[in-house]
C-alpha cells in the first residue's frame, strides 16, 4: 500500500515511500531522521509537531503525509545558522525541557513574518495553540519581543 511522494524538504528535493495512514511527523522521523517535530498530545493542541508546509504552520501529527506531494516542507532543522528567533529564545531563557521549543520557534517566525512588531495580546493569541508544560510563557513573550527587535535591526 506504500506509494512514493515527492516534495521539497528544507530546500532539497526528496522522495519517500509512505503508507496512506502515515502522518507527516512519522515520515520526517522515520524516513529522514528529523526529530525536531515531535508528537506529544496527538491532537494538534500542543504544537510540538509544528512543521511549515508551503509556508504555513501545520500540526504534523494531524497532516497526512500523502498530502505533501509537491509541497515545500520546512522543519526547525532547516538552515545552518541560528536565526534571530533562536538567538532570542536562548538569550531570554525561553524554555526549560525544550521539548516544545522547536514548535515555538517555528510559530514565532510565522508570527513575526505576519506582524513584525506584535504586542503582547497578539503574541498570546498567535501562540495560544502551543503549550509549554514547564510554563516558560513569560520568557517566551520576552523572547518574541526580543526577536522582533533583532529582526528589525538587521
Amino acid at each position: 500500500m506504500r506509494h512514493e511522494i515527492r516534495f521539497r524538504l528544507n530546500g532539497e528535493a526528496v522522495s519517500a515511500q509512505v503508507a496512506p495512514h502515515e502522518n507527516l511527523v512519522e515520515v520526517l522521523q522515520e524516513n529522514f531522521g528529523l526529530y525536531g517535530a515531535r508528537e506529544s498530545c496527538g491532537q494538534g493542541l500542543c504544537g510540538c509537531c509544528t512543521v511549515l508546509v508551503n509556508g504555513r504552520a501545520v500540526s504534523g501529527c494531524l497532516y497526512l503525509a500523502s498530502l505533501i506531494e509537491g509541497a515545500e516542507v520546512l522543519t526547525v532543522e532547516n538552515g545552518s545558522e541560528p536565526d534571530a528567533v533562536q538567538q532570542a529564545f536562548v538569550e531570554a531563557g525561553a524554555f526549560q525541557c525544550g521539548f516544545c521549543t522547536p514548535g515555538f520557534v517555528l510559530m514565532t517566525r510565522q508570527l513575526l513574518d505576519e506582524h513584525p512588531d506584535p504586542d503582547e495580546d497578539a503574541i498570546k493569541h498567535y501562540l495560544s495553540g502551543n503549550l509549554c508544560r514547564c510554563a516558560a510563557y513569560p520568557e517566551i513573550i520576552e523572547a518574541v519581543k526580543l526577536a522582533a527587535q533583532k529582526r528589525r535591526r538587521s
Binding site: 503508507a19 495512514h21 522521523q29 522515520e30 528529523l34 526529530y35 525536531g36 517535530a37 515531535r38 506529544s40 498530545c41 496527538g42 491532537q43 493542541l45 500542543c46 510540538c48 522543519t75 526547525v76 532543522e77 541560528p82 533562536q86 529564545f89 536562548v90 538569550e91 531563557g93 524554555f95 526549560q96 525541557c97 525544550g98 521539548f99 516544545c100 521549543t101 522547536p102 520557534v105 503574541i123 498570546k124 493569541h125 501562540l127 495560544s128 495553540g129 502551543n130 503549550l131 509549554c132 508544560r133 514547564c134 510554563a135 516558560a136 510563557y137 513569560p138 520568557e139 513573550i141
Partner: protein, 756 residues
C-alpha cells in the same frame, strides 16, 4: 577550545548564563529517548484493563497474535520465565510488570503486543479480548479506610530506602502507611482554647502531563541489558531491574538523555521493567512510547482529604492544631508512603504551635496510581492549612498577613517534629509578599458584576532524607573539565548548575565544563532527581569532587615543583612529558538524619527547608463565577540563587503549573472508575491565554549554609501558595469560601447562589 583553557574572569555561581544545552534545544537537536531508534527494534503496544477491580477470567490474544507483522503478544504468564516474582515499587513491591490474575484500576497494563510497525502493534492490541470477574471497588480515600473492597490481599514492603524501612506488611487493609505525630497534647489544648475552628478540604487527582510522554527502550544480550529511558531515577531503575532479574547491577546499564519534562512522573520504575523483560523475551530491542492518553493511566498526583482543627486565643495566637490527612494513592503505592510521611509531618503549616497532632494515611483505591508531583504532597497540605489559617484570621477579625505574622515559625524555633528551623526565611518571605502585594495600600474592589479581591498563602517543605549523591570531576590534560553525575536534566537546568559549581571551584567558565548525562556504566550513583534535592545534594557532591580534583592538581604542582599560578596543562606536560593523563576528583554527599520516634518526633528531619509564598489579585465575574487571576506574586527562599534567571523561570513555571491545578485541571472519573477526560482536548493545562496579566517572582536574600555556595532546591517552591492564595482572594472578593479544588466557575457560581 581556547575558552576552555582560559580561566574564568567572574564568579560562576550567581551568573545567569543561558543553559548549556540551549542551542541544541532551539534547533531541535537535543537528545530525547523519544528520538531513539535501534536496529531491529520492536514497538510495544499495551492492552489495558477495562474494569476497575476484577479477577482476570480469560485473556484471549489469538486474534492479535494472528495479525500479520505481529512478533509476539506477551502477558503476565510469559514473564515468569524471566522474572519469577514480577512485582516492583519503591515503597511496596506491589505493582506487577503486567497484571497477574487481578486488575486493580481501569487502564492497568494487562498484555503487550510487539511488532516492528507501531501501527500494526496498535491495531492488534485492539483485538485482544479479556474477561473479568468484577470485584467491588473503592475510589474515595476516606471510604478506603473502612471499605470492604480491599485492593491488595497482602502488602509487601520493599525496604529499599532508609526513610521507609519501617513499613510493615499487613493484610485486610487499604492503609499502605499511617504516620502519626504527637507534640504536646493537642486534644487537651483544643478543649481549653478560647476559639476553635474546624474545616475540611479536598484536592483532586491531576496528572503531570510532561509533553514528552513516558518512553523507554531496552536492548539486551544473554548477559547484559541496556535501558534507554526517560527517567528521573536511573540508579533506582538499575537496582530494581537487577533485583527483579536476579542479576548483579553491573550487567545492567541505564542511560538517560534529556527529559521532555518530568515533574515527578518519570520516577522510580514506570515502563523500564516491562521493556527489559520484553527485550529479554524477544531478543530484540523494544521500545514503548506512551501516548498522552496512556500517561493518565500511569502516574498521577494524589487526591486528598484533610480535616484540620485549630484552637486559638481571642487575640489570634494559635495554641493547638489537629490534622487528619487521607491520601488517595490509587491502585499501587508508588512513592505515596513517602508523601504521606514526609509531607505529613509539615501538615500543621509554618506556624509555631505548641500542641500538634497529625495523622496521615496513604490509601489504596481502584484508581490510577498516584506518586510525586512537584511538591510531594506539600501543595495539597498548604491548600488546606492556608485556607484554614485565612478563615481563622477573618473570623477573628485580624488581617490575614498580621495573623500569620503573629504565629510564624521563626528561625531557631522547633517545627512540629522538634527539628529546629535553620536557614528558613519564613518571616522574610511573608514580609516581601506583603510589600510586593502593596498590602497596606487601598485596593480597587471592582464594580458591577466584576468584583476584585486579593489573598496570600505561604508554605514550607522539608527535603527527603537521608539520600545519597556521588559525583566525579575529571580534569583533562588540556585543562578542560567533565562532570560525571546521575542528576537528570529534565528542564530544571541541573547541567548548567553543576557546570557552574565545578567552574566556580576550578576557576573555569561554566560554559566550558561538560556535564555527562546519566549512564549507570559511567556516572556514579544518585538517589534520584526529585523533591528539589539535586541542587543541594548533587551540588554538594560536585563541589566536593571539584575540590578534590583541585587538591590533587595542587598536590601535583608541589610534587612537580610547578609554580602555584601555572596553568593546568603545565602540570600534565611536566608529569607525562606530553599533553596526557587526567585528574579525577570524587565527591559524595549524604546528610545526617534521624528517623522519627514513635511520636513522629526527631531533631533532624531534613537537611534544609524550602519556603514559598504567593499572593494573587483576582477578578470574579459574579454572573458566571469565572475567576481571572490578574496578578500573581511568588516569593521564595531558595538560598543563594546559583543561576538567578533559571531560578526565576522555575518559580514562575511552578506557580503557573499550580494555577492549572487550582482552576481547571482535574481527572474526572465515572462511577465505574473509568477516566472521562484522558486527553489534552478534555484535560486542559494552562496556555498563554490563561496567564495572569502580571507575574512577579522574587527570591528573597537568603543563604543555606549547608548548601553548595549557599544554595538549596527551587523546583517545587513556586507551587506552594498558589491554590490557597486564589481561594483566599475569591473569598476576599465575593465572600464565598471554596474548600475543594478546582476553583472552577460553576463551583464559584453555586457558592454565590447559596450565599444569596
Amino acid at each position: 577550545m581556547k575558552r576552555a583553557l582560559s580561566p574564568a574572569e567572574t564568579p560562576q555561581v550567581g551568573r545567569s548564563l543561558p543553559r548549556l544545552e540551549s542551542w541544541l534545544k532551539v534547533t531541535g537537536r537535543a537528545e530525547y529517548v523519544h528520538n531513539l531508534r535501534l536496529p531491529g527494534m520492536l514497538y510495544g503496544r499495551i492492552f489495558r484493563s477495562s474494569v476497575a477491580h476484577g479477577r482476570i477470567k480469560r485473556l484471549d490474544v489469538s486474534a492479535a497474535q494472528a495479525v500479520g507483522g505481529v512478533h509476539r503478544v506477551v502477558s503476565a504468564a510469559d514473564l515468569k520465565e524471566i522474572v519469577p516474582d514480577p512485582y516492583y515499587g519503591p515503597a511496596f513491591h506491589d505493582q506487577p510488570v503486567l497484571a497477574v490474575d487481578k486488575v486493580r484500576y481501569v487502564g492497568e497494563p494487562v498484555a503487550v503486543v510487539l511488532a516492528a510497525d507501531p501501527h500494526v502493534a496498535e491495531e492488534a492490541a485492539h483485538l485482544i479480548v479479556a474477561e473479568y470477574d468484577e470485584l467491588p471497588a473503592v475510589y474515595d480515600e476516606v471510604e478506603a479506610m473502612s471499605s470492604k473492597a480491599i485492593v491488595h490481599d497482602a502488602l509487601k514492603p520493599a525496604g529499599t530506602f532508609p526513610d521507609l524501612k519501617h513499613l510493615k506488611g499487613r493484610t485486610n487493609t487499604n492503609v499502605a502507611l499511617d504516620f502519626h505525630l504527637r507534640r504536646g497534647d493537642a486534644a487537651q489544648a483544643l478543649a481549653a482554647a478560647e476559639r476553635v475552628f474546624e474545616h475540611r478540604f479536598r484536592t483532586q487527582q491531576v496528572m503531570h502531563t510532561p509533553l514528552e510522554p513516558l518512553v523507554s527502550v531496552a536492548e539486551s544480550t544473554d548477559s547484559s541489558l541496556t535501558i534507554h529511558t526517560a527517567s528521573q531515577s536511573p540508579s533506582f531503575v538499575r537496582s530494581e531491574i537487577a533485583r527483579l532479574l536476579g542479576w548483579p547491577e553491573n550487567r545492567i546499564r541505564v542511560r538517560v538523555p534529556f527529559l521532555g519534562g518530568g515533574f515527578g512522573a518519570k520516577l522510580y520504575i514506570k515502563l523500564e521493567a516491562l521493556v527489559a523483560v520484553l527485550s529479554l523475551l524477544s531478543r530484540r530491542a523494544v521500545k514503548i512510547s506512551l501516548t498522552m492518553e496512556e500517561q493518565f493511566f500511569t502516574i498521577t498526583k494524589h487526591a486528598s482529604s484533610f480535616r484540620i482543627k485549630s484552637g486559638a486565643t481571642r487575640d489570634g495566637r494559635i495554641s493547638a492544631r489537629e490534622c487528619e490527612v487521607w491520601w488517595n494513592g490509587g491502585a499501587y503505592a508508588d512513592i505515596g508512603p513517602r508523601v504521606t510521611q514526609k509531607s505529613g509531618f509539615t501538615a500543621a503549616g509554618p506556624y509555631d504551635i505548641e500542641h500538634v497532632a497529625i495523622d496521615s494515611y496513604a490509601l489504596y483505591t481502584n484508581l490510577p496510581p498516584a506518586g510525586a508531583l512537584r511538591g510531594f504532597g506539600i501543595p495539597q497540605l498548604v491548600w488546606a492549612y492556608e485556607c484554614h489559617t485565612d478563615m481563622m484570621a477573618r473570623e477573628l477579625g485580624i488581617d490575614p498577613i498580621e495573623f500569620r505574622r503573629r504565629n510564624l515559625l521563626r528561625e531557631g524555633r522547633p517545627q512540629a517534629t522538634g527539628t529546629l528551623m535553620r536557614d528558613a526565611a519564613i518571616e522574610k518571605v511573608l514580609e516581601r509578599l506583603e510589600a510586593l502585594m502593596e498590602w497596606k495600600k487601598p485596593f480597587d474592589r471592582g464594580k458591577g458584576a466584576l468584583r476584585r479581591g486579593r489573598g496570600v498563602a505561604i508554605g514550607f517543605k522539608a527535603c527527603v532524607s537521608p539520600t545519597t549523591s556521588l559525583a566525579a570531576v575529571n580534569v583533562n590534560g588540556d585543562g578542560s573539565c567533565i562532570v560525571y553525575c546521575s542528576t537528570v536534566d529534565m528542564g530544571q537546568g541541573s547541567d548548567t548548575a553543576m557546570a557552574q559549581f565545578a567552574g566556580e571551584v576550578l576557576n573555569l567558565p561554566a560554559e566550558s565544563v561538560r556535564v555527562v548525562h546519566s549512564d549507570t556504566d559511567v556516572t556514579p550513583y544518585d538517589m534520584a532527581t526529585l523533591g528539589s534535592r539535586s541542587l543541594f545534594h548533587m551540588g554538594n557532591a560536585v563541589k566536593l569532587a571539584a575540590e578534590d580534583a583541585l587538591k590533587k592538581l595542587n598536590q601535583l604542582k608541589s610534587e612537580l615543583q610547578i609554580p602555584p599560578d601555572a596553568a593546568i596543562p603545565e602540570i600534565f606536560k611536566k608529569k607525562y612529558g606530553m599533553q596526557a593523563g587526567n585528574v579525577i576528583g570524587t565527591g559524595s554527599y549524604v546528610p545526617s538524619y534521624k528517623s522519627p520516634d514513635a511520636n513522629g518526633l526527631t531533631d533532624n528531619a531534613t537537611p534544609f527547608w524550602m519556603v514559598g509564598g504567593s499572593g494573587v489579585e483576582v477578578e470574579v465575574d459574579t454572573e458566571t463565577g469565572r475567576v481571572r487571576v490578574a496578578r500573581l506574586v511568588n516569593v521564595a527562599d531558595v538560598g543563594t540563587p546559583i543561576n538567578p534567571k533559571i531560578v526565576e523561570t522555575q518559580l514562575s513555571g511552578a506557580a503557573i503549573m499550580q494555577l492549572g491545578f487550582t482552576l481547571f485541571e482535574k481527572m474526572l472519573f465515572d462511577d465505574h472508575g473509568q477516566l472521562r477526560n484522558a486527553s489534552l482536548a478534555e484535560y486542559k493545562i494552562p496556555g498563554f491565554l490563561d496567564l495572569p496579566e502580571e507575574i512577579v517572582n522574587e527570591a528573597v536574600s537568603a543563604e543555606q549554609r549547608s548548601g553548595p555556595f549557599g544554595a538549596k532546591g527551587a523546583g517545587e517552591t513556586g507551587t506552594f501558595g498558589v491554590s490557597p492564595a486564589i481561594a483566599n482572594a475569591i473569598h476576599d472578593a465575593v465572600g464565598v469560601r471554596l474548600t475543594s479544588l478546582t476553583l472552577n466557575p460553576e463551583a464559584v457560581f453555586m457558592k454565590l447562589q447559596e450565599k444569596k
